[in-house]
Symmetry: C2
Subunit: 497 residues, 2 copies
C-alpha cells in the first residue's frame, strides 16, 4: 500500500518493536543474570516501557492513520502484506483503546494484589484467601470482554486475546472429540508396565548436558550465531531481534532428560522465531501468529521428533559418549524412558498423554465461570469433582488442585487452551508434512532435519501473521485441525502392547 | 527547591536515567552475551535510544524549566542538592543544545568513517590512510569547542567534556611536576633486576581464577547481591541501576594476575557506583562526578591496595590454596611479581610507573594540535620524537605509535588526561585517608577493607556530583591534588633498592 498513512504505521510499528525488544532484554536479563537487589528498579523500568508503548500505540493520530488506510484500500488484495498488517494493527489498536483508562488501572492494581494473595493461598492451600481477589479479576475480565465485544460467548473475547479468532464453540467441539478417546487412552497408557528409572539414573555433569543439548539443538537447525542458550529457573524462549533468539533451560544433575527436552521444546520456539522473515521484522506479517501455533512448533521438536524411536536410534550412541551409563540401554528402552504416562496432580509436571486432560479441565472451568454457571466459592469442589472424573484421583489439597497455576492470579483467563491447541496442531502438521513430503521421514531416520524444518519454514514460519492461526494451519496441512492425528500419535507412543 | 519547574526537571532526570540504563543494558549485553548476527539490529536500537534521549533532554521546555529555576533560586544555598542539580542540568543542557544540528550529524558521520579508516590504517600501519578523517575530526572538534565556549584555550572546552572544570593550564602544571621526576624514576625502575616470570607461570583454571577473584572482590566490599562479574573481551564496569553494577574481566590461562587485577580495577569502579546515594539515583547529585575521580577509585583498589605487600601478606596463602604453585613464593616475591616496570610501546599494556608517560605524550600532542602548533601530517614524526625523548625507544611503526589508540578515531580529544588524573587522585586520596584515619592502615594489614572503603564512601562516593571534581578531591584530602603523593607511591613500589 502506497498511502502516506500506511508508511507512518510501518515506521511506528518498527519503532514499537525496537522498544518492546529492549523491554524484552530487561526481562530476559532479570531471569538469567540480574542480582536480586536489582529487582525494584527493574520493575520501574519495565513499567515505564509498557506505559511508553501503550501511549505511542494508542495516540489518536494512530487511529486516524488506520482509518485513512482503511478508507483507501480500494482493490487491495486481502491476502497482501498491507492488508494483513492493516487487519492486525486495527485489531491491536481496538484492543488497546477500547478499554477505559480506569479499567486498565484497576486491572493492574487488582492483578498485583491477586498475585500476592494467590501465592500466599497456594502456600497455605487456602482457597478462601485468594477467592475475593479472584472474584474481582473475573469481574474485571468480564468488563474487558464487554468492551472488546464478542459474537457468541463472552469468554470468546478472552480466548481471542491469546489465540486470534478462536471461539468457545470451536474449542469445545475439538476438545470433545479429544476427550472421548483420551480418557480410555490415559487409562491404558498408565497401566503399561513402567520403565525401570534406575537404568537412566546417574550423576550427569551439567557441562556435558550443555554440550549434548547444544549438539542436538544445532542438528535440528538452531542458529547459534543468531541466538544462545542460558540457564534460568523457568525454561523459556524470547526473541530480542530478528537475529537474536534466546533460549533458557534448567538442569537436574540426576536426569539429563529434563534439560534435553527443555532445550528441544524451547528450540522449537526458537526455530519459529528464526524462521520469520527478517525483512518484515517489526510488522505483523513478520511476527509469530499465535500462542497455539508457537506451541505447535515447540511440541513438534520436543515430542514428535525428540521422543521418537528414530531420534534415539540416531542420538543414543552420541548420548552414550557423553553419558557412558546410557550405553547399556537399547533404543527401545531409551524411547520408552522418554514416553511414560502417569496420572498426577500438577499440570506442569504432566507427560504428553495426560497433559491435555489438565487443560480441558481448566477450559471447562473457565467456560462455566464466564457463562455465570460456576460461582467462585464453588471452584475448589468443582475442580476436585472434575479431576476425579478425568483422572480418577482425589485432590488432597487446593495447592495440588485449583491453586496450582499462576494464570488466574494474573487475570489470564483464556490462555490455557493454547497449550492443547499447540499439541493438536503439532500432530496435525507433522502428519500432513510427512504425507506431503516423503523426504521428511527419510530425513528423520537419518538425522537430517532439514526437510521437516523447511516444510515448517515455508508453511508456518514465513507467513508470520498473514493469516489467522486456524487458517494458517488449515492452509499448511490441507485440512482443519482435529484431534485425530494427535490421538494416533499418542497411541503409537504410549501403548507398548 | 520547591518550584514546580524544579520538580519537572527531577522527573525528567529520573526518566532519562531509566532510558539510558536500558541502553546501558543493550550495550552490556552486546559485549557479554549477544551472538554475532544480532549486531545490526542492536546498533539500530542503540541509535534509537540516543536519539530519544537527546530529543527529550533538549526539548525547548526543558531550557525554560532550567531558566525558571535559575530566576527563582533566591537565597538557595549554593551547596544544596537543588543548586548542584541545577548547575549540572544547565551545563548538560547547554552542551547538548549549543551545537547546531548539522554539526552533530556531520560529527556522527565522520566519526563512523574515521573509525573504519583508523582500523584499516592501524592494521596496515599506514597513517596517511587515517589522516584525512583525523583532519576532519579535529576541525569538527574545534567547531564544537567554539560552540561550547572557553576562557583560555580552545582545548579547555574539550577537556571539560571529560573532566568537568579541568583546564590546559592546570593539567600542564601538574603534569610538569610529575614528568620532571617520573623520567628518572622510570629509568631507575626499569633497571631493577626483573623478577623471574617462570615462578608465577602455570596453567590456571578459569573456574579457580573466578572463585579467587570473587573472594577478593567480596572482601574489599563489592556487593554481589547488587551486581555480578562476567567475561568480556574488554574489562569494564557499567551501572544498570542503583543496585545493579556489572563488572567484566578476561582470563589468561597462563597468568592469574591478568584477571585478578582486571577484577580489582573494575571492582574499584563498582564500589564507587555502589556507594552513590540510592535515594538520589537519577539526579546529578546521585551520579559519579567525573572520569578522573572514577579512575581514582579503580586505580586505588587495583594498585594502592591490590599490589601492596600487605595485600599479598593477607592473600598469598588463600591464592596458594587455589593455585598450589604459588606456595613456593614469598610475599616479597609475589609483590615484586605484581610491580614490574618495563618500557613498552603500547599504553594499555603499560605498568603503573611508565603509564603516565604515555598519557603525558598524548596530552602534549593534543594541546599542540588544538593550539594549531602541530599539523596532522606531522603527527607521526612528532609522536616518535617525543616517544624517544620520554622512553628512549625508537617507534618501529605507527601501529605501535600514534595509531594505537581508538580515542582519536572517535573524536575523543581531551579524554586521555583523565587516566593520569585518576592515578594522581588515587595516590593523593590514599595518602590523605591514611593520615586522617589510623584504622585504615591497620585494616589493610589485617584484611579489613571497611575503614578505607568507608572513608571513600563518605568523602567521594556519597557526594555524587555535588562539587566539581577537583573541589571534591580537595575537600576530601584537605589539599589540592599534586604529583607528590603519586611519585612517593611509585618510588616505594618500584625501587627495590
Amino acid at each position: 500500500m502506497n498511502h502516506p498513512a500506511y508508511q507512518k504505521l510501518v515506521d511506528l510499528s518498527n519503532e514499537l518493536k525496537l522498544l518492546s525488544d529492549a523491554a524484552g532484554l530487561l526481562s530476559w536479563d532479570q531471569e538469567v543474570n540480574m542480582a536480586k537487589k536489582g529487582v525494584g528498579y527493574r520493575a520501574r523500568q519495565m513499567a515505564w516501557f509498557s506505559g511508553e508503548y501503550h501511549a505511542r500505540f494508542t495516540a489518536p493520530e494512530v487511529g486516524d492513520w488506520i482509518s485513512e488506510c482503511e478508507e483507501n484500500v480500494g482493490d487491495l488484495d486481502p491476502e497482501s502484506d498491507s492488508a494483513a498488517n492493516l487487519r492486525e494493527w486495527r485489531h491491536g489498536y481496538d484492543r488497546e483503546t477500547k478499554l477505559p483508562a480506569d479499567l486498565v488501572t484497576e486491572f493492574a492494581r487488582v492483578r498485583s494484589l491477586a498475585h500476592e494473595s494467590w501465592a500466599e493461598a497456594r502456600e497455605k492451600s487456602e482457597f478462601t484467601h485468594f477467592a475475593p481477589d479472584l472474584e474481582k479479576l473475573i469481574g474485571l475480565c468480564k468488563q474487558q470482554a464487554e468492551c472488546w465485544g464478542y459474537e457468541d460467548k463472552l469468554y470468546d473475547a478472552l480466548l481471542d486475546k491469546y489465540e486470534r479468532g478462536s471461539t468457545t464453540a470451536e474449542i469445545t467441539a475439538v476438545f470433545a472429540d479429544l476427550k472421548k478417546e483420551l480418557v480410555p487412552l490415559v487409562e491404558e497408557a498408565c497401566s503399561q508396565e513402567p520403565f525401570d528409572p534406575v537404568k537412566v539414573g546417574a550423576d550427569y555433569s551439567i557441562e556435558k548436558q550443555q554440550a549434548f543439548n547444544r549438539e542436538v539443538a544445532e542438528a535440528v537447525g538452531f542458529d547459534f550465531e543468531a541466538g544462545r542458550i542460558d540457564t534460568a529457573v523457568h525454561p523459556f524462549c524470547t526473541g530480542l531481534g530478528p537475529l537474536d533468539t534466546r533460549l533458557t533451560t534448567r538442569y537436574m544433575k540426576s536426569d539429563f532428560r529434563s534439560s534435553l527436552y527443555g532445550v528441544l521444546h524451547e528450540t522449537g520456539h526458537g526455530l519459529y522465531d528464526q524462521g520469520l522473515r527478517e525483512e518484515d521484522y517489526g510488522l505483523p506479517i513478520g511476527d509469530a501468529v499465535s500462542l497455539g501455533v508457537h506451541e505447535s512448533q515447540s511440541r513438534l521438536w520436543e515430542n514428535q521428533v525428540g521422543r521418537s524411536p528414530e531420534f534415539w536410534d540416531r542420538w543414543l550412541p552420541k548420548a552414550a559418549e557423553y553419558f557412558p551409563n546410557l550405553a547399556e540401554l537399547s533404543v527401545e528402552e531409551m524411547t520408552r524412558a522418554c514416553n511414560q504416562a502417569e496420572r498426577s496432580f500438577i499440570r506442569v509436571e504432566a507427560d504428553e498423554v495426560t497433559y491435555d486432560l489438565h487443560i480441558m479441565l481448566r477450559f471447562e472451568m473457565e467456560s462455566a465461570i464466564f457463562n455465570d454457571e460456576l460461582p467462585v466459592a464453588e471452584i475448589p469442589a468443582e475442580w476436585n469433582r472434575r479431576f476425579k472424573e478425568s483422572f480418577g484421583l482425589e485432590v488432597d489439597n487446593d495447592s495440588n488442585g485449583c491453586l496450582q497455576d499462576i494464570h488466574w492470579s494474573m487475570g489470564g483467563f483464556g490462555y490455557f487452551p493454547t497449550y492443547s491447541l499447540g499439541n493438536l496442531n503439532a500432530s496435525h502438521l507433522f502428519k500432513a508434512a510427512k504425507s506431503q513430503d516423503s523426504e521428511i521421514e527419510t530425513g528423520l531416520a537419518n538425522g537430517n532435519y532439514t526437510p521437516l524444518l523447511q516444510w515448517m519454514r515455508t508453511r508456518i514460519h514465513e507467513p508470520g501473521s498473514r493469516f489467522l492461526p486456524k487458517d494458517l494451519v488449515e492452509r499448511a496441512a490441507g485440512s482443519p485441525v482435529t484431534a485425530d492425528a494427535h490421538l494416533a500419535h499418542l497411541r503409537s507412543r504410549y501403548l507398548f502392547g
